[in-house]
Amino acid sequence: MGEQVKQKKNSKKQKRAVMRTAILAILVAAIGYTIYNSATAKDVSLLEVGDKAPDFALVDLEGNDHKLSDYEGQGVFLNFWGTWCKPCAKEMPAMDRQYEAFSNDGVQVLAVNIAQSDFEVQSFADQYGLSFPVVIDKTKSVMTAYNIRPLPTTVLVNPEGNIERIITGEMTEEDIEGFMEEIKPE
């Protein structure tokens, strides 16, 4: 067999090997990706740390509007809660104390109640003497936008308006203090 023919044959062989490797690689990658996705993806489009916190506008018990974007430059301690949720109730006094301590340092607390009646929320606020604004998410739209599942969930928004941290479950007073420190403007 001539040298040329051999060369031609070799290059053909090489091309074929490259083709096959590429096709197999693509297929295997696709399967791997699918398995990975099915194993991990429980919920799509979950908010993640570092994301821009979705803006919202809610009304508090006094009738004042609270727009998240109005607090840019301040850290926002966003607490989602309900009156029936025991851990929520437990952390409220601590939150209130820490709010007193940090409110002058540019940390705002917004307690977002999930679609309960004015009466229930008002009596709760009165009972605990809450000094931070309590807003009610009547249509659960903010809850939906933030993809809140268990209560309580706390979302820390830094002065730039990005999510600094997401905490699900009850927090101790030390936790709360530390978190407020985290989002305190420089």
């Binding site: 096959r20 399967i31 803006d55 919202f56 809610l58 249509t139």
Partner: protein, 552 residues
């Protein structure tokens, strides 16, 4: 493996059975058989050409029909195993441990083993997905490996084939011919819609070659379908959320930014078995009630794009629609389905302020359980002040009434009753079952009168952007199946030797009956020699042999 050089001089890739050029049999086995194996035109499957590197070995593995069928069978058996016990999605338990307990409690040790092996969630297990993936690999590689050489071989067909190729075709004839035989045959074949090519002393007539692509087309359809299924796992392509919506409520639709849904009314209708439905009477007597319809009358609102979640203003009505089973509400690529319902959740309770002794009523009040008021003033000048409201009262903790959920399943009220006779007020704690008077005996009580209820609709919110891809895959699959199964590829080779002898061979990938019908017409018109079906000859010979054996 070495290349195979045919006697005609053509160099064939290793693994070739019939010379790509003239059609001579290249292996001893084929040379000795009476009929040639025309599958894939006797070309070498590409995978067989090299078997050296690991990549080639994997490639060859997936290229084999045996492996493909094995994957199908394994998949089939695995799918069947998943139906032995219900999958976890159909089980009334949600958490990991609850599911595990359910299998153990309900199905005993079988259930425990089933759960332990992961069969309770078989279809989303990594190995099942991997199996489907292997099937996809097999589909791609086996198709490529066969399609490419077949395509080349059919594209480069030569008109003149070696006589040894011709006489090993199932349909074969040899006999004297006239001068114009070839021309006549050509005219008739063209009339029968064959593509005819001639070369020197021969002709090749061909029809329905595209049917040979059928299998590859349907495999492409399946690949597209599987690709669509894969896409569903990518965030954004697929949404599956559920929403419990109570009558009168307006809720943001989960995962659908900017849209809100209000339930105006939920309705459940059962078959009455009367009037037009009388024919169903007997069936209804046997099974009890059968639902005729359930539907949620909803209003879909949309907020302008710049509106913020939570802001109450400026929502616009997009659509008013009754959502029923089989009639989902569709908008903007989303669909909302009527899936479930719960009837008669408490909505409001009416009480009468009553003197315990005289039973005299000082007036009625209705407490909206969804949005109670602080104080209820009665005409008599009495008031009922709501001190505390516990929608799902679950007992006391440190003397404080507790609520388990925000739903009014078991409402409890802490009230202060003030009447002209008891101006300092009396405190009472009322639940459905009983009344507690924590601060001493009262003169007045709230006597329960009536309750209003509302229904809850179980809705599913769905978006599936992969549907068009899946539909396309299905369509291509069906086209491919029809193309491959309902059309056939027919060919005739006719040659006239120098002495006038006609050689005739015919081949089809299926439906030999149809081929013979075509050929009969040509034979008659062009006075070709009578042909034989060599398969029949072989069968007859075998049969005779068998019978001979039986006799002896």
């Amino acid at each position: 493996m070495e290349n195979l050089q045919c006697q005609c001089g053509h160099v064939n890739p290793p693994g070739t059975k019939l010379c790509e050029s003239c059609g001579r049999s290249l292996t001893e086995k084929d040379q000795n058989s009476k009929l040639v194996d025309m599958r894939y035109e006797g070309t070498a499957r590409r995978s067989q050409t090299y078997n050296k590197s690991i990549i080639d070995k994997i490639w060859n593995f997936f290229s084999s029909v045996k492996v493909g069928v094995s994957i199908i069978v394994v998949l089939l058996v695995a799918a069947a195993i998943g139906t032995i016990l219900p999958q976890q999605a159909f089980v009334p338990a949600t958490t990991e441990t609850a599911i595990q307990e359910y299998y153990a409690d309900t199905y005993g040790s079988i259930g425990r083993v089933y759960h332990f092996l992961g069969f309770h969630d078989l279809y989303s297990s990594y190995w099942f997905i991997a199996l489907v993936g292997m099937l996809a690999i097999s589909l791609v590689i086996a198709s490529l490996d066969r399609f490419v050489p077949l395509y080349k071989s059919l594209k480069n067909q030569r008109v003149l084939r070696h006589p040894s190729f011709m006489d090993k075709q199932r349909i074969y004839a040899e006999g004297p011919g006239a001068e114009d035989t070839l021309q006549k045959a050509e005219t008739k074949l063209k009339e029968l819609k064959y593509n005819v090519r001639t070369d020197k002393n021969g002709l090749l007539a061909e029809k329905g070659r595209f049917s040979r692509w059928g299998p590859y087309v349907n495999h492409i359809g399946l690949i597209i379908f599987l690709f669509g299924v894969m896409l569903r796992m990518i965030p954004g392509f697929y949404i599956d959320e559920s929403l419990w919506l109570r009558e009168g409520e307006t809720r943001a639709i989960p995962e659908v930014p900017g849209y809100y849904l209000e339930s105006k009314n939920f309705e459940l209708e059962n078959y009455s078995g009367e009037g037009e439905e009388e024919v169903f009477g007997e069936a209804l007597d046997r099974v009890g009630t059968v639902a005729k319809n359930y539907q949620t009358d909803v209003v879909l609102y949309q907020k302008p794009e710049d509106a913020l979640p939570g802001a109450d203003d400026s929502q616009e009505v997009v659509k008013e629609f009754p959502i029923r089973v089989n009639q989902p509400l569709k908008f903007d690529g989303y669909a909302i389905y009527q899936m479930d319902y719960r009837l008669d959740e408490l909505k409001a309770m009416t009480f009468a302020l009553t003197n315990k002794e005289t039973e005299e009523s000082l007036g009625e009040l209705t407490i909206d359980l969804i949005d109670p008021e602080d104080i209820y003033e009665l005409e008599s000048g009495s008031t009922v002040e709501l001190l505390g409201y516990y929608p799902d009262f679950s007992g006391f903790e440190d003397g404080e009434p507790q609520t388990a959920t925000p739903l009014p399943n078991n409402p409890g009220f802490l009230v202060e009753l003030t009447t002209p006779e008891t101006p300092e007020g009396e405190t009472s704690f009322i639940t459905i079952q009983n009344t507690v008077e924590p601060l001493g005996e009262n003169d007045y009580k709230l006597a329960f009168q009536s309750v209003e209820t509302r229904d809850v609709s179980g809705l599913t919110v769905r978006k599936d952007s992969t549907l068009p891809i899946l539909g396309l895959g299905g369509l291509i699959f069906m086209i491919g199946v029809a193309q491959g199964m309902y059309f056939n590829h027919r060919r005739f080779w006719i040659q006239q030797k120098a002495d006038g002898t006609i050689l005739l061979a015919g081949h089809t990938n299926k439906n030999w009956f149809g081929l013979k019908k075509d050929l009969d017409q040509v034979v008659e018109h062009a006075s070709l020699p009578a042909y034989t079906d060599q398969q029949d000859e072989i069968d007859k010979a075998e049969k005779a042999e068998k019978e001979g054996e039986a006799l002896s």
